[in-house]
């Protein structure tokens, strides 16, 4: 195949000779940082892990071929440069030659090579590997080693901003005991080695995960000597532990603890926003919910601002449609529907419902009674409160809501495979592309697809397709504004809010930049002044 290769980015952010050295940025090395997590990680590798606690650890231990820097730009990591074919289907990565894997006890560190990249891709995509990543990389047709320090990925089709996908973490070929696929039984998932700024040293009897600075880190030794991840079973105790100096940082502060922490000058509260929002989503296969007036009635029936103020200490923003307010796609002209229970009742009546003797709205002998399914993994005090409030708000307009809390996997099966639900409470989190196409396109209806509610509209479909095809940013903005307005009107979800996450940390930790999803992406740059190291 004749292929014109266009080198699109050849900038070398780091000299290939700059290995195993201090950063020489004038900031001191030393000190330790312990941070509190509410919960324990199930695994510590980047392939099988599925929760934020693990993700944060893997961010310290591993690297991708490329990374996203503090300015949101794609930056070289394990790959020092790359080429993309003009048709956007072939990506060739040229790997650094100065990267070493963390050494296992008694062994010399081994070099990182193309074999590790191919190994990672293959093990990630193996049918017997249980990994949430697999679905994200199905767009890759094949991965090939060209030589020890170059690999080639061929895509099934060109995709927008494909480079960002190559941030997946690379694991060593000599890591897992099973060379074909990775399960949670493999010792590697509890005792991984990577190439990243910190080396997993041990897990203590108290389940603290101890990470030590990688002296050979290819971007220069991280400033802080030691990170310790400390699990807590109670959020209040975690907050008190920080306030009495047992830990230095909480990665995600309970909203109700924000005023107390803010009231203490020793700590910094740092917001970090993911483009995410919470919603009640409806199953439009239920004929009673197929009428948009019914769904609109739900939106009028709930007082979203009150819930946000009381349950989340006002730490968020009410939204009007399918985008987060911090995204570029949000339609600023669409206002959230007001809390108006009377309007909700009017809409239900307009849709043919009349109140039954028990106060529940009925139509054709069928009660307007919903089963709301909530994943237990999501369950927290605040979620419980939101669900109760939803039940009460809807009861006030004659809608009965029965709540079922389900284990995460069972919930996903009910919602995404069986479509056995009337309503769900959940949140979506997006990257900067704010891509909602998989949520509402009719081609995404089906088992394990994201359009779980079965929403279908030819007009929405065609707008989504048009948005995907265009390279004109303004056109895409225009389409998204339309999508926002139409989906707000159609109300396949009751759009609720975007919440603000806060990290809290002691003032002694400096230059703290936080990645909105991965958190520790820039932790090698953090430092503690010598006078405050202990």
């Amino acid at each position: 195949m004749k292929r014109i290769t266009a080198t699109i980015l050849l900038s070398l952010a780091v000299s290939a000779t700059a290995l195993a050295a201090p950063k020489n940025d004038g900031r001191p090395d030393g000190g330790s940082l312990s941070y509190g997590e509410y919960g324990r990680p199930a695994t510590l590798d980047p392939i099988t892990s599925n929760e934020m606690v693990s993700l944060r650890i893997t961010e310290l231990v591993f690297n991708g071929l490329v990374g996203i820097d503090e300015k949101q730009e794609i930056a070289p990591e394990l790959a020092e440069r790359w080429d993309a074919s003009a048709d956007g289907r072939v990506y060739t990565f040229y790997l650094r030659k100065d990267v070493k894997w963390h050494a296992r006890d008694g062994e010399d560190p081994r070099p990182f090579t193309a074999d590790d990249v191919i190994f990672t891709y293959n093990i990630m995509m193996h049918p017997r590997t249980i990994s949430p990543l697999k679905v994200r990389y199905e767009f890759i047709d094949k991965a090939e080693k060209l030589d020890d320090y170059s690999v080639r990925f061929t895509l099934k089709r060109p995709i927008l901003n494909a480079l960002a996908k190559f941030t997946f973490k690379v694991i060593p070929k000599h890591g897992p005991s099973n060379p074909l696929y990775l399960t949670r039984e493999d010792p590697f998932v509890q005792n991984p080695i990577g190439t990243g700024p910190f080396i997993l040293r041990n897990v203590t009897a108290d389940r603290e995960i101890i990470l030590a600075a990688n002296e050979d880190y290819f971007k220069g030794r991280p400033h802080i000597d030691k990170f310790a991840a400390k699990p807590f079973a109670d959020q209040n105790i975690m907050t008190q532990a920080m306030m009495f100096n047992a830990i230095d940082m909480i990665v995600l502060v309970n909203p109700r603890d924000i005023p107390e922490i803010q009231g203490d000058k020793r700590f910094i509260l740092q917001p970090y926003n993911a483009l995410s929002y919470s919603f009640f989503g409806y199953n439009l296969r239920n004929p009673l919910l197929a009428d948009k007036r019914v769904r609109q009635a739900f939106a009028y029936a709930v007082n979203r601002q009150e819930m946000l103020d009381s349950f989340f200490n006002s730490q968020g923003t009410i939204i009007s449609g399918p985008f987060a307010p911090g995204s570029w796609a949000y339609n600023l002209d669409v206002q959230p529907l007001p809390f108006d229970p009377r309007k909700a009742q009017d809409l239900l009546k307009e849709a043919g419902f009349t109140p039954g003797a028990d106060g529940v709205m009925q139509k054709g002998g069928k009660k307007l009674a919903l089963t709301l399914k909530v994943p237990i993994e999501k369950e927290s005090e605040a979620v419980k409160r939101v669900v109760l409030a939803f039940q009460n708000y809807l009861k006030n307009v004659g809608v009965q809501v029965k709540v079922e809390f389900k284990e995460w996997q069972a919930w996903k099966e009910d919602v995404f495979a069986e479509h056995d639900f009337d309503a769900i409470f959940a949140s979506w989190v997006f990257d900067d592309s704010a891509d909602i196409s998989s949520l509402f396109h009719s081609a995404e209806i089906g088992a394990w697809k994201n359009n779980f509610g079965g929403y279908s509209s030819p007009e929405i479909d065609s707008l989504i397709v048009e948005s995907k095809l265009t390279l004109d940013h303004e056109k895409r903005r225009t389409i998204n504004r339309k999508l926002h307005a139409m989906l707000a009107e159609e109300a396949p979800y009751t759009f609720l809010w975007t919440l603000t996450n806060y990290s809290a940390y002691h003032k002694k930790v400096r230059r703290v930049a936080i990645h909105p999803y991965k958190f520790f992406s820039f932790a090698d740059e953090w430092f503690i002044p010598e006078s405050e190291q202990r």
Partner: protein, 404 residues
């Protein structure tokens, strides 16, 4: 029967449920079982029906103050006589303290700011210098006339302050590290608290007379939430780190080296000890459970003299309630008879109902408050109890009394 070393909760509950040794100071024996266990009453009800009343009824239940939106009330603390009740009120980032009579009338509101009483001329500083003060953690003096609380005075440093009801506020502690978790001895004027001045949380005792606080604990891990015994001779506290805290009792307080006795030593998280009113028992939360799930909590009761097992199946047998919502600011709520405990059950579908466990027979009863998302239970010596519950999205304080 359980084999030696059997820790499984089901095993404990089904075959060796601990029955309270009523009227005796002897520690309860794990094998003096009666066939009454968790949810005995609820189990009798048909599926889908509300549990039948099982001997627990309310004499009354009412919101302490008017139901109001826009603020969340929390942490009710009865005065030692039970005539007054203090609680916290959050409006946005501000947290103030209120003191009320049990008829709901407000005695006073405390919103302490260090700039109070400043001699600066009265100027209006629009939007520039308004301080936000955070006040919490009430503990009452034995005579009901004073209370101690934690405040940052709007200036970013938590210390303890004394409030004379109807009078002035005076500083009790002054240190750049946090002071908090105060508890006033029921016997005298001593106040136990936790301070970060040692570099981590340690227990100190202060005397309102003004002598420097005395440090009681020295260890490499923090101590939190000290609680005086009813006779004022001992202090229960939690000690540990991360998700593993143990219950410790400090005695010999008058000696140069107080003695620390661990009541629990296992790997589970044991939080917020509360003395029974007769001083013989200590109830606390623990995340011990058969699933080894660190977020599932139980209440255990052990002898305060340390004679009960400190770990293993022996301690597991001291579980009196499972699936509990841990409210570490308050702890399990003993009724005055030292035989019954009110607690909040972690029941998703009933939204944290209130339950009563009777330690005499191990029976467990719903308390028909009809309230939802309950928290922060606290019992007065008079038998009244208080808690917070969600009403129209906002937390209100309720008070009630059980029918005897």
């Amino acid at each position: 029967m359980c084999k030696l070393g059997c820790w499984a909760l089901t095993c404990v509950l089904l075959t060796s449920a601990w029955v309270w040794a009523a009227q005796t100071a002897d520690p309860p024996a794990a094998d003096t079982a009666a066939p009454a266990g968790e949810d005995a009453a609820a189990d009798a009800a048909a599926p889908g029906e509300p549990p039948a009343p099982a001997g627990v009824a309310l004499e009354y239940l009412r919101p302490l103050t008017g139901i109001e939106s826009g603020r969340n009330d929390s942490n009710p603390v009865w005065s030692r006589s039970g005539r007054l009740i203090g609680f916290e009120r959050s409006r946005g980032e501000k947290k103030e303290l209120l003191v009320a009579r049990n008829d709901g009338s407000i005695v006073e509101t405390i919103y302490f700011q260090l700039s109070e009483g400043s001699q600066e001329p009265r100027f209006y500083f629009p939007g520039v210098l308004e301080e936000t003060s955070y006040n919490a953690g009430i503990a009452w003096s034995p005579d009901d006339r004073r209370l101690v609380f934690m405040s940052n005075g709007g200036e970013g440093n938590y210390d303890l302050y004394l409030r004379e009801l109807g009078g002035k506020t005076a500083r009790l502690t002054h240190h750049r590290e946090k002071d908090g978790h105060a508890d006033w001895s029921p016997a005298d004027g001593r106040i136990a608290f936790v301070s970060g001045r040692s570099g981590k949380g340690d227990v100190y005792v202060a005397d309102p007379g003004g002598a420097p606080p005395r440090r009681l604990t020295v260890a490499d891990r923090p101590f939190l939430y000290p609680q005086w015994s009813p006779d004022g001779k001992r202090i229960a506290v939690i000690h540990g780190a991360n998700e593993n805290h143990d219950i410790i009792v400090i005695d010999g307080l008058d000696k140069p080296q107080p003695r620390l006795t661990a009541l629990t030593t296992w790997e589970h998280d044991d939080l917020r000890p509360v003395w029974s009113p007769d001083g013989k028992w200590i109830a606390f939360y623990s995340n011990y459970n058969e699933h080894n799930d660190p977020k599932i909590w139980a209440i255990l009761v052990v002898a305060a003299d340390g004679s009960d097992p400190k770990s293993g199946a022996g301690l597991a047998a001291r579980v009196v309630a499972t699936d509990v919502v841990p409210d570490v600011e308050r702890g399990p709520a003993w009724l005055p008879d030292s035989r019954r405990i009110l607690y909040v059950k972690d029941d998703r579908l009933e939204y944290n109902p209130i339950r009563l466990v009777d330690l005499r027979d191990g029976s467990n009863h719903p308390v028909p408050t009809g309230t939802q998302v309950n928290h922060d239970l606290a019992c007065a010596p008079t038998g009244e109890f208080a808690f917070r519950a969600q009403v129209d999205q906002w937390d209100q304080i309720f008070i009630g009394r059980l029918k005897e």
